[in-house]
Amino acid sequence: MCRLFALTSRDPVSPMRAIDALNVMKEGHDGSGVGLFLSGLGGPWEELKEYPILSGIFTEDGLVQVFDYMAKKGFQSKFSVTFKPDIEPPVGTPKRGTYASIAYKVPDDWKGLTKEQADRNLVQTRLNLRAMGEEGGDIMVFSFWPDTIMIKEVGDPLAIAEYLKLDREELYARHILAQGRQNTNYAINLYACHPFFIEGISTMTNGENTAFVPIREYLMSRGVTGYQGYQSDSEVFTHIAHFATRKLGLDISSYKHVITPMNDEEMADHPDREFLVSLKRSCRKLIIDGPNCVIGCLPDGSMFMAQDRKKLRPGVVGGNPELGIYGFSSEICGLNAAIPDRDRTKDFQPMHLDTAIVGPDCREVLQCSQKDPLRLRH
């Protein structure tokens, strides 16, 4: 079963802190894969916040194809960090080529576009590159978004971290999502590694999503660019978060009202009952049922954790507001390993109605209950 660990910090930290936490939690996963989402990047990326970064794995041919394609579309390469391992990969990990993160200046003719159009174009560009690589396997693209790097690989997290030298300074980030384990119920596929990403929103999940097929069908019928792929049953959680926040304009504390609405008794005396009943009915297809813990990061850098109604996969949030660092972990031992210096009495384990949110300032854990009045409704 997947192990999840997320860090949000005021200052950039090494992704190794998250990987080490995964390693501590190894008892619960088989070390079959690792995924990393990094945003709020430090090091050389600090000056390049507005340039979208293409993250992926490329063969020699693949890199040439990408450069050709991007040049043809009018993208200018501003900066790149590439890494080609010179040692033998760990057992079970194939030799793939170059792991690259390349920042691009967007084409000049995008200037007149609205943010929404430009965002959609970025997604479309990523999808085009992904489609180009699907035949030959020369290109694998995980994200194309400003201030975001994603790394995915099959294999044991710690071994992969050593193999890819993830302790490099150019990978230091303020917001890190890390997951250990490959696909649970579907075929092994690099794209199936968590976390998943779309338009600045990234989430990762453990457990099994039993409602995967109806949710996938529903999302795919929404006509949103980027709602595709679905190599993993958990990918839909990211898209639901995207749909709820970007398409419906709801606050992240409402995400839980979409995926796990309250029952009638719980809703009976809620001040926003009428709205919540409407939301429950119209978003009925997005109700999840698995034993899942969802941890995600939003474009503004805030991080959240929510559970399904059954709460069979409990997670924990804790941290140190003085140091400005908070961890979201699927097991408490991971949190202890990554942030030992914290007041453990303040650790928060969200129950089935709760969403835990830590803002980009990393000062406190905001605890939202579904019983609370709704915070923001745009």
């Binding site: 079963m1 457990g207 398409k247 029952n263 009428e274 009915r281």
Partner: protein, 544 residues
Amino acid sequence: MLSERPITPSTLSRKDLPWQIKWDINTCTKCGRCTSVCPVNAIELGVFRKRDVKPPMGLSAKPTTEFSTFYGIRQRTDPAYACIGCAMCNMVCPNNAIEPTRQYDSTTLQFQNNRGGQPRTRGGRRNNSESLLDQLKFIRISMLTDPALDAGRHEFEMRTLLGRVLSPEAELQCFRDNGWKPPVREIYPLVIGGMSFGALSPNMWEGLQMGVAYLNEELNMPVRMCTGEGGCPPRLLRSRFLKYVILQIASGYFGWDEIIHAIPDMKEDPCAIEIKYGQGAKPGDGGLLMWYKVNKLIAAIRGVPKGVSLPSPPTHQTKYSIEEAVAKMIQSMSMAWGFRVPVYPKISASSTSLAVLNNLVRNPYAAGLAIDGEDGGTGAAYNVSMNHMGHPIASNLRDCYKALCVAGAQNEIPLIAGGGIGKHGNLAANAGALIMLGASMVQIGKYVMQAGAGCLGSEKDRCNVCNIGVCPKGITSQDPRVYRRLDPEKVAERVVDFYLSFDTELRKVFAPLGRSTSLPVGMSDALGISDKDAADRLDIKYVI
């Protein structure tokens, strides 16, 4: 056989009859109950005269002849009175001295039962014992990664939505603008389908209504029942129980006057309005209430003379096409109740189902689509309709659901599937499979009669005399001498019993699949079938 007995083309021997009466002379008490209860007069008391020749030993004495007379049961061989195998004779026999048995190699009656130039009409449903629904298996059982839920104790959300649900974007917009929202009902996903007051006996109807009311008011299960075509008893229309009722209207507005006149006196809105364009057992045909069942009460409710056959009237003259009919009727019915009541059409599953669905997707007032498959039952239909017309429900429903997925409206227009659910008693498994194929709810008719009132009909052409008012159990008869056999209280009890067990079984299906907080509508990855063609057609897993 007597030498002068006429032998005509339709002369049958007992051997030609599919149902044979086995009568035991030794245990029979000659009480006569069997002959008096036989709904089709297939048996009669007979006086038999027997000649016994007794040859004495030797050559001197002549043989003597003795005549004896005894009384017994005689099975008639006239095709009009052929035994229907209902076994009522056995039910009333104190000694089990009589029973019908099926003789499978007798097919001759099939060629003789259309007499007087009239094709046979019968009640019941098509005599096809195959069921694709029973072949479906639930294969996605969660094991380690998702511990199976406790079906007995876990919290389950077993309700579904009937009514037009807005898309999330439209819903939020509507909330912001405080706009009009289509009415939506949260109901139990197993609905008692349309069986009219004329088709069912008053006792059966009363029993069903009592059962439904008990389920709602005592057990908090929002079960709904559809009235069927031809009006509704005035007292029910003016009672608070109307909210548990789906009123059916057919394209000919038959029996609708009563309902329209009652609107000002209604204390509650009905649950919904179902507009019937077709039903699975006789697609394209309307209902057929034969004259036997049109007694004074039924005639009064329907506003017709008593003792006349009542085929559904043809489509109303104001209707030009299905598109227009759907649009107009939905609009006018919605308007009649101030747009507070969901209105949806019911059609026969057919190759044109998708066309009707397309109309509905574009109609903001359409509250759903009920699709009735070929295995649906009926009070009366022609043999040829029942046996040879119609579309199986599974693939038709799947097509409709997938069309909704393409249109992105799969949560917006609920599909209601019916026709052959629980045909072999596997009600919860069949219903679960249809929900996973895309139905928001399912409707049943025959199952209620079989489980709730002990209907004797089967897929082997047993009984099936619902149309001529002689139902031996009193379910579909309008003759008080017959229907007083049925105790409405007992019907209500049985309805409650099977709903509760259905509920438990459905949870037992859903829990191992890991679903509890919403119905697994469209969860097709949970289904498998060992028939490759069926798997391809339904787009589910092929498993052997």
